[in-house]
C-alpha cells in the first residue's frame, strides 16, 4: 500500500540498458515500471535523483539524459562506496528505486540567446551532458557553444560516442584534454583551467557552466575571472553528501542553503553570499 505523497518512497524503475563508460563509471538507462508515471514524468536539465539499489541504499546522481529525450532516464554511477558498488552489480532487467526530480536546474530560459562555455572535469561531465543535449535539441535558442572536457587520461572520458558525435558537429566546438601527454593521444594536453585560458572564450553575452573536482573548480573560477567573466556569468553545480534530498536531513547545507533543494546549481554570485565551506 502507498501513502500518497510520501516523499521517502522510491518509484520502481527497470534498467533497460547499461554501459561501462570507463573503469569506474557505469551508465544506467531506466524506465519507470508504472507507464502512466513514466509518461507524466517531467524534469529540468540539472535536476538530480536518488537511485536505490535495494539492500544497499540510496545515492544521488544527476539525470544526465535531457528532458527532450524521454525514452528513458539516464544516470552515470561512479563506483566509490556501498551503494554505488551495489548499483554496479545490477544489470539490464534489474529493478532500482528512483526518487526524482530533486533540486533546482540550470537556468536554461535565462541562458537563451547567449554563448555558452561548458567546462567539465571527470565525472563532472554528467550534469553538463544533460544541459548540452537540451541546448542541442533547442539549438536555435542558444549562441556559440564551446565544450572543454578534461580527464586524467584518454581512458577516463565518459560518453565517448557522444563526444565523437559532438566533435563532428559544425555548430559547436569541442576541446578534449588530458592532464599529461601519452601515446596515441593526438588531441589537447593540459589541465582544464590552462586549456580554458588558451581557448580565450569571450565573456561578452556569455555564460560559463562548470562542474568537476573541487581543485579543478577552484582554478577554473580563477581562469574565468582572468578572462573577464563576472560572478553572475558563472554557473556551477555542486556535489555534497546527500541523504534525504528534501532539505531535512541536514548534511548538504552551505550556510542556510541546502544543496539538495536550493541547489545543486548555483551561480558564483549566489555562492559568494554563502559561507565559504566547499
Amino acid at each position: 500500500m502507498k501513502t500518497p505523497n510520501n516523499p521517502y518512497a522510491p518509484k520502481l524503475a527497470r534498467i533497460v540498458e547499461t554501459e561501462m563508460e570507463n573503469a569506474t563509471v557505469k551508465t544506467f538507462r531506466v524506465v519507470f515500471e508504472d507507464q502512466a508515471y513514466m509518461q507524466s514524468f517531467s524534469f529540468k536539465p540539472g535536476q538530480v535523483g536518488q537511485l536505490t539499489a535495494f539492500g544497499a541504499g540510496e545515492a544521488t546522481f544527476v539525470i544526465n539524459s535531457p528532458p527532450t529525450r524521454m525514452d528513458y532516464l539516464q544516470f552515470s554511477v561512479m563506483r566509490a562506496g556501498e551503494v554505488t558498488t551495489a548499483l554496479h552489480m545490477l544489470k539490464e532487467g534489474d529493478l532500482v528505486g528512483v526518487r526524482a526530480p530533486l533540486g533546482n536546474a540550470f537556468p536554461v530560459e535565462d541562458m537563451k540567446g547567449k554563448n555558452v562555455v561548458l567546462i567539465a572535469g571527470g565525472i563532472g561531465m554528467a550534469p553538463l551532458r544533460t544541459l548540452l543535449l537540451y541546448m542541442l535539441d533547442n539549438r536555435a535558442d542558444y549562441g556559440d557553444i564551446l565544450l572543454i572536457y578534461g580527464t586524467r587520461s584518454p581512458d577516463d572520458f565518459c560518453y565517448k560516442a557522444d563526444m565523437a558525435e559532438w566533435g563532428a558537429r559544425d555548430d559547436m566546438k569541442v576541446v578534449e584534454t588530458v592532464d599529461s601527454a601519452c601515446t596515441l593521444w593526438t588531441k589537447c594536453v593540459g589541465l582544464v583551467p590552462n586549456v580554458l585560458l588558451d581557448e580565450k572564450p569571450s565573456p561578452g553575452n556569455a555564460v560559463a557552466v562548470t562542474c568537476g573536482p573541487p581543485i579543478m573548480i577552484r582554478f577554473t573560477l580563477e581562469a574565468l575571472g582572468k578572462l573577464g567573466f563576472t560572478d553572475e556569468q558563472i554557473i556551477t553545480t555542486l556535489e555534497r553528501r546527500m541523504k534525504c534530498g528534501m532539505g531535512l536531513c541536514g548534511r548538504c547545507n552551505i550556510g542556510e542553503k541546502y544543496v539538495c533543494v536550493d541547489g545543486p546549481v548555483f551561480t558564483m554570485a549566489e555562492l559568494r553570499e554563502l559561507p565559504p565551506e566547499l
Binding site: 541504499g57 562506496g81 556501498e82 558498488t85
Partner: protein, 320 residues
C-alpha cells in the same frame, strides 16, 4: 610555592619549544574543569588543577600527532600515555610530560546524587571532606563518597613516565591486591550466564550509540574509520537495537584487551550510566592471568597481543 604555581612555572619555561600544552581550565562551575590548549603564556592564567580535573588528556594525543605537545597527567592518565608510547602511536621526543601526583578526582554524578545540587558556586577541599556552596546553601560530604570509583582503588597515583614531576609523590590509596579486588567485578562473576545476560541487556537497552565512550577513550584510535560507522564493509546495522549496541561494546572491549589502562573515561563519558568499564576490566583480568601483564606501566614492554610465542606458557592449545 604551591603545586599549581610550580606547574605553571614549568610550563612557562617549556612553552616556547612546544606547539601547545594540554591542561584543564575553569569551567562553568567549580565542579567542572574542561580540557583546553595552552598556546600562549597568557593562556596559563586559566590553568587549574585539582579533583575536578577528571578528563584524561591523553585522549587528545591521537589528534595531535605531528605536533610538539606538552601534557599534564595524573597517575592514571600517565598509563595511557605509556601505552600510546608502547604502541608507537605517539613519539616520546615530541612529548613533554608534566606529572601531577593525584589524590583522586570527583565523580560529579555521585555529587549530584549525594547532595542533590545542580550548581556549585564554590568548592573547598578540607582533609577528607569536600564543601560545596550551591545557591545560598553550603553542604559538606566525605570525599571518599564522591571520588571516582577508580580512585578509591588506585594503585598508581604517581606517573612513572615524565619530564617534570610537580610536588611530592603521594602514597597509593591501596595495595596492588586491594586494587585488583573489585566488588562490581565480583558481583558480576557471581551471576550465572542468564543473569549476566539480563544485566547487560538492561544496560545496553539504554545505550544511545552516541559513541562518547569510544571517542573519549585514549586508546581507541580508529576514530573516523571505526567499524561501527563503516558501511563498506558493512559490519553493523544502523538500527538502535540491543544486539547492535552490545555487538559494538564487545568489539570495543576486545580491541582494548591488554591495552586498556582502566582510566574509566568510557564509563564517565556515558550519559546514561552504563558500566562499560566492567567489560574492559574483565578482559584485562584475563590478560593478567594469561600473560602476567598490565597495560601502560613499562614504556619498553611489548603488549602481549602485539606479539606471539609459538608455545604460550598459559595457553594450552591442545586443551582448547
Amino acid at each position: 610555592m604551591s603545586q599549581l604555581t610550580e606547574l605553571k612555572e614549568a610550563i612557562r619555561k617549556a612553552l616556547p619549544d612546544l606547539d601547545l600544552v594540554l591542561g584543564w581550565r575553569e569551567g562553568y562551575d567549580a565542579l567542572h574543569a574542561p580540557p583546553y590548549h595552552i598556546r600562549r603564556q597568557e593562556d596559563l592564567e586559566h590553568l587549574v588543577f585539582g579533583p575536578m580535573c577528571v578528563n584524561n588528556l591523553a585522549s587528545q594525543l591521537m589528534h595531535l600527532r605531528g605536533k610538539k605537545v606538552g601534557i599534564i597527567v595524573k597517575g592514571c592518565d600517565a598509563r595511557s600515555v605509556v601505552e600510546l608510547l608502547q604502541e608507537k602511536i605517539v613519539n616520546r621526543e615530541s612529548l613533554v610530560i608534566f606529572a601531577m601526583p593525584c589524590k583522586g578526582v570527583l565523580d560529579v554524578k555521585k555529587i549530584r546524587r549525594a547532595l542533590d545540587i545542580d550548581h556549585a558556586r564554590e568548592v573547598h577541599f578540607h582533609n577528607g571532606t569536600i564543601e560545596i556552596t550551591s545557591g545560598d546553601k553550603t553542604s559538606s560530604v566525605e570525599l571518599k563518597d564522591v571520588l571516582a570509583d577508580k580512585c578509591l582503588r588506585c594503585h598508581y597515583p604517581n606517573a612513572t613516565e615524565y619530564d617534570h614531576f610537580i610536588g611530592e609523590p603521594v602514597e597509593p590509596r591501596v595495595s596492588a591486591e586491594e586494587a585488583a579486588a573489585d566488588p562490581a567485578m565480583e558481583e558480576l562473576a557471581g551471576m550465572d550466564l542468564t543473569e549476566r545476560f539480563a544485566f547487560w541487556k538492561t544496560h545496553m537497552n539504554r545505550c544511545l550509540r552516541c559513541y562518547a565512550c569510544r571517542n573519549s577513550c585514549p586508546l581507541c584510535f580508529c576514530r573516523d574509520v571505526c567499524l561501527a560507522d563503516s558501511r563498506d564493509p558493512h559490519w553493523q546495522s544502523q538500527e538502535t537495537s540491543v544486539r547492535e549496541k552490545w555487538m559494538f561494546q564487545m568489539i570495543h572491549a576486545m580491541h582494548l584487551a591488554g591495552r586498556c589502562t582502566q582510566c574509566g573515561e568510557c564509563e564517565r563519558a556515558c550519559p546514561v550510566g552504563i558500566p562499560i568499564l566492567l567489560l574492559k576490566k574483565h578482559l584485562n583480568a584475563v590478560v593478567k592471568d594469561l600473560f602476567n601483564y598490565e597495560a601502560g606501566i613499562d614504556p619498553t614492554a611489548t603488549p602481549p597481543l602485539f606479539t606471539f610465542k609459538v608455545e604460550e606458557e598459559n595457553i594450552k592449545e591442545i586443551e582448547l
